[in-house]
Assembly symmetry: C2
Homo-oligomer: 279 residues x 2
């Protein structure tokens, strides 16, 4: 989703306005959503015209808005999503983005699934670790750092993704300045050790709570897995049975290469986790 | 500059378009400038229709664009600034913002000086220190962290400013996770110890190189001051003769209170520094 791609196959619905031509500019030059990256968003999966776990995404967006002191009315957003979906004629998967700027422009943006997702889902991810610059406990008692808030200020996430591409990798795993595993620029790290699934703790680490990771952990618990939040170093990931990067639209994808080191795939285990996550 | 303030007294000039009604939306919903805070900007001072140190700002914007792999043509920006100024009828001071988004929407936005600047310049700043979460050397060899790049991803800077207001302060001084002085959300820290002016080193610290701080240091050197980049802890600032937060539009303002501790003002010294900085 960039400003340079054609919008011919997109649906745009604006809060208080309705569905409009997606190529129509809707944001003012002085909206701090653009001048300051000040606002929040959600990325959601659509399958055959239905949004996957809309409640969880709206709940997280409500928390983001509370942290940013932005107004949020879930009912208007539900109605907006319904309007956008009604204008979307395509079966199968699609990506829905919900955005709210400081200037209180709210909108839903619906597009086809990214072209490279089917290949990544099939082939797995080659990822590199990059420092995020923050320490593993940097966000404790520091709400102004907006830990766990899905803000529009993703320039570093995008630059890290470009760095991965430059190095021939598919994605990034951020580590803290003191060497602990954090998260991917647009996904949650989950790894399996025996019958235990682990992920990085929220809170002091500043990482975003993943809605798909949460669903996976809930369902995995019911299926007999142990699940836990645990700080880990990259070496712990090298030793894990499987490592996934979990995102709402792309789903959980197993990592086949971490910092240039090949990882054996575990197709049955991987398939079970993807299924539990709803993919 | 937020999306909710009236734009009746603003001038908006858009690259490739010219001067348009400032209330006209100019940014598309899928421009990563808004969805990802992906882009860069500059804030410049205008005095009686002339831009202060335009060359230094354009040079810094060129560096930001290079780091973000965005196109930048200084001549088009000069022409855009001239167009905006030609449409600005007001004498005295004004604030000019130059913005370029990932979707390559570029614009100049001219407004009157912020209402509280005259008071702050007269009365000085009460500031609090807040952690930025990053270590003092976090940005060394980590270009993806965009240290020194003036990106649109300022959500944390804005949240820190709101935190300051909540605590009854005027501004923030960010410190690193390991306790070293960094910068203000929209300004550079400069402090005087005897006949030496100091500021935080660029590079590994990730702070932005200030154009007004640079001019001040250049002119102060000519006026017989020593100038140096030096890491410092907050206690070092408590012991400094004067501490300033230096910004391009607001100018250097002396700090009268740091973390609740009063600081004696030094009017003659302060006046000399402001004059050297061009204020």
């Amino acid at each position: 989703m960039t400003g340079v791609e054609p919008a011919s196959d997109a649906v745009l619905a604006v809060l208080g306005v309705g569905v409009v031509d997606p190529s129509t500019p809707v944001i003012r030059a002085d909206d701090a959503g653009v001048t300051r990256g000040d606002g929040c968003f959600e990325g959601l999966r659509v399958v055959d015209g239905a949004v996957d776990k809309l409640d969880a995404h709206l709940a997280r967006m409500a928390r983001s808005c509370a942290a940013l002191e932005l107004p949020f009315d879930p009912d208007s957003w539900r109605a907006l999503v319904a309007e956008a979906l009604a204008a979307w004629p395509h079966p199968g998967e699609a990506a829905l983005k919900l955005v709210l700027t400081r200037g209180t422009v709210g909108y839903a943006w619906l597009t086809p699934l990214a072209a490279d997702y089917p290949r990544l889902r099939r082939d797995g991810l080659r990822i590199i670790t990059l420092s995020r610059g923050t320490t593993i406990d940097a966000f404790a008692d520091a709400p102004w750092l907006l830990g766990g808030v899905k803000t529009l200020s993703y320039a570093v996430n995008m630059a890290a993704t470009r760095e991965a591409a430059r190095r021939g990798a598919d994605d990034v795993l951020f580590v803290s300045a003191d060497g602990f595993v954090l998260e991917a620029p647009t996904g949650t790290a989950v790894w399996a050790v025996g019958r235990t699934l682990r992920t990085t703790p929220l809170g002091a680490s500043g990482i975003l709570g993943g809605t798909t990771q949460q669903r996976l952990f809930d369902r995995a618990t019911d299926a007999g897995w142990r699940v836990e939040e645990a700080t880990a170093r990259v070496d712990d990931l090298h030793e894990a049975d499987v490592l996934w990067v979990v995102s709402s639209v792309r789903g959980p994808i197993d990592v086949i290469e971490l910092d240039g080191k090949q990882r054996a795939r575990r197709p049955e285990l991987d398939a079970q986790i993807r299924r539990l996550a709803g993919f």
